[in-house]
């Protein structure tokens, strides 16, 4: 009897064989373990993502939602509330408004990856996490350097822990809730600092924003800031791990992008399709929907398995091949529709710069372990450790 349990360590390690069976045999599948429907075909996921009045995010979008978060963030609200929150933030994340960050990001990359000079082996997570936290702090305007209120590594550790879940209880454990509370507490201190002495940065502007004369309520400001830290640090860090994993695994692709860094953007897009870290999000039905002979009821939760849609042979020929010449248009690596990732431009820019600088120091490398420890998460997928040997 086929089962698909998004909490299973086997799914953390390799969800793709499960996805293929879901797509081929049960494209609208009820998972008793997750207590939700699973949509796995590209076309069904795109349709659901476009139809936010039916597939609502207001009951939470993470597969295992954090307490009190639903309804107070961009990802966990529907239009028009979603649009007003997004309108306050998104100009800062537009490509042309990120140009000023390009040089600071490159300086961070040179500093962080420069540490690898002379190394024979290293855990890529050590460098990717340092890079990610510094970039996010600069982009969001979090206090850095002399102004810093916590060590950078604690931000990273807690942001990564809060997105995880317990495979046994299929819920958040106390350590995950503690990490979530830590990030909230950190966000609230930053918001207070910026309200007391506003600067021209994203969090200052957001914390003081008014829409039609109304200030955002404190919960919205706090949880949206918390989510920006979580999404920024965890998603960017997780994606960098997956990109390094792919390049360390596929020698031809690595040698091609090292020889010609202008190919990095295409390799990044193919990684977003092939095995992006954001594998699954959820929605809740606002009315009954019948699909592939199954009737999903109003109030039911539905998993949109982006990672499966990206491997759908109905959309991408030879989907299980990592092919950096593919140019996978329309992939779901950043989701889609009104909730498509806010950070697409800064993610693409940061990862490109990071790997340009990384490859200047370490142009040839391979994975040391065959089997990797995978993060326990029903939503995201990336290895916890990625030991690389310099060749």
């Amino acid at each position: 009897m086929f089962s698909f349990d998004p909490y299973s360590p086997a799914v953390d390690a390799d969800p793709f064989p499960y996805y293929k069976r879901l797509r081929d045999e049960q494209p609208c599948f009820w998972s008793p373990e997750a207590q939700m429907w699973v949509l796995s075909r590209y076309a069904d996921i795109v349709s659901a993502g476009q139809d936010w009045p039916t597939y609502s995010s207001a009951s939470g979008n993470l597969m295992t939602e954090l307490p009190g978060r639903a309804g107070a963030t961009l990802g966990s609200s529907d239009p028009p509330k979603h649009d007003r929150l997004r309108g306050l933030i998104q100009h800062a994340f537009m490509k042309r408004n990120l140009l000023a960050l390009e040089e600071p990001i490159r300086a961070v990359a040179q500093e962080v990856f420069g540490q690898l000079k002379g190394a024979k082996s290293f855990d890529f997570k050590e460098v990717s996490s340092q890079f990610t936290v510094k970039v996010l702090m600069a982009a969001l305007g979090l206090p850095m350097g002399d102004e810093a209120i916590v060590p950078e590594q604690e931000v990273r550790d807690n942001a990564v822990l809060m997105v995880q879940s317990d495979a046994r209880t299929r819920a958040k454990g106390p350590e995950h809730i503690a990490a979530y509370n830590w990030v909230q507490d950190y966000a609230s201190k930053v918001i207070a600092m910026r309200r007391a002495e506003p600067r021209n940065d994203l969090i200052s502007n957001f914390a003081l924003a008014e829409i039609d004369g109304d200030r955002l309520d404190d919960r919205e400001v706090l949880l949206t800031t918390t989510t920006l830290i979580m999404a920024g640090v965890e998603s960017l860090g997780g994606f960098m791990m997956m990109f390094a994993y792919n390049l360390a695994t596929f020698d031809d692709a690595r040698r091609a992008v090292v020889a010609n860094p202008a190919l990095l953007p295409d390799a990044i897009e193919e990684s977003l399709r092939f095995n992006t870290s954001a594998q699954r999000f959820r929605r809740r039905l606002m009315k009954d929907v019948t699909l592939h002979g199954q009737t999903m009821k109003e109030g039911d939760f539905v998993c949109l398995a982006y990672g499966s849609g990206n491997r759908d042979e109905r959309q991408y020929p030879n989907p299980d091949v990592y092919d950096i010449t593919r140019k996978p248009r329309g992939h779901l690596g950043f989701g889609g529709g009104v909730h498509a990732c806010l950070g697409t431009a800064i993610a693409r820019l940061s990862v490109k710069i990071a790997f340009e600088e990384f490859h200047k120091v370490v142009p040839e490398y391979r994975r040391m372990a065959d089997q990797l420890p995978w993060m326990p998460s029903s939503t995201f997928r990336s290895p916890l450790v990625l030991e690389l040997a310099v060749q």
């Binding site: 349709s47 993502g49 490509k95 009104v338």
Partner: protein, 107 residues
């Protein structure tokens, strides 16, 4: 369903049959139409799915929202009275046969 025809700046024409609710941006990027980028994924945040809608059909489309009008100020090619963002136009029977022209550049 609606048949939508995309005509690229090169003259290349592609007609796709889109399911109701799919945005024209999703329909174009999923069907190999290169003249639409859709970098932000459809959240009306990048202005790289700029298109020119057949003027005779403008009345068949819902008017642009405030967010779309604001983002249209950022398009790379010339903005015209019939400029729209393809991520904000959803396929439905009302759009059957619609022709959209794509600009020479999106970025």
């Amino acid at each position: 369903m609606a048949h939508i025809t995309f005509i690229e700046a090169s003259g290349q024409s592609t007609t796709v049959n889109l399911a109701d609710g799919w945005s024209l941006m999703q329909g174009a990027t999923a069907n190999g139409v290169d003249g639409i980028l859709g970098e932000c994924g459809g959240s009306c945040a990048c202005a790289t799915c700029h298109c020119y809608v057949d003027e005779a059909r403008l009345g068949d489309l819902p008017p642009a929202s405030a967010g779309e009008l604001e983002m249209l100020e950022n398009v790379a090619a010339e903005r015209r009275p019939n400029s729209r963002l393809a991520c904000q136009l959803k396929a439905s029977a009302a759009l059957e046969g619609l022709i959209v022209h794509l600009p020479e550049t999106q970025e």
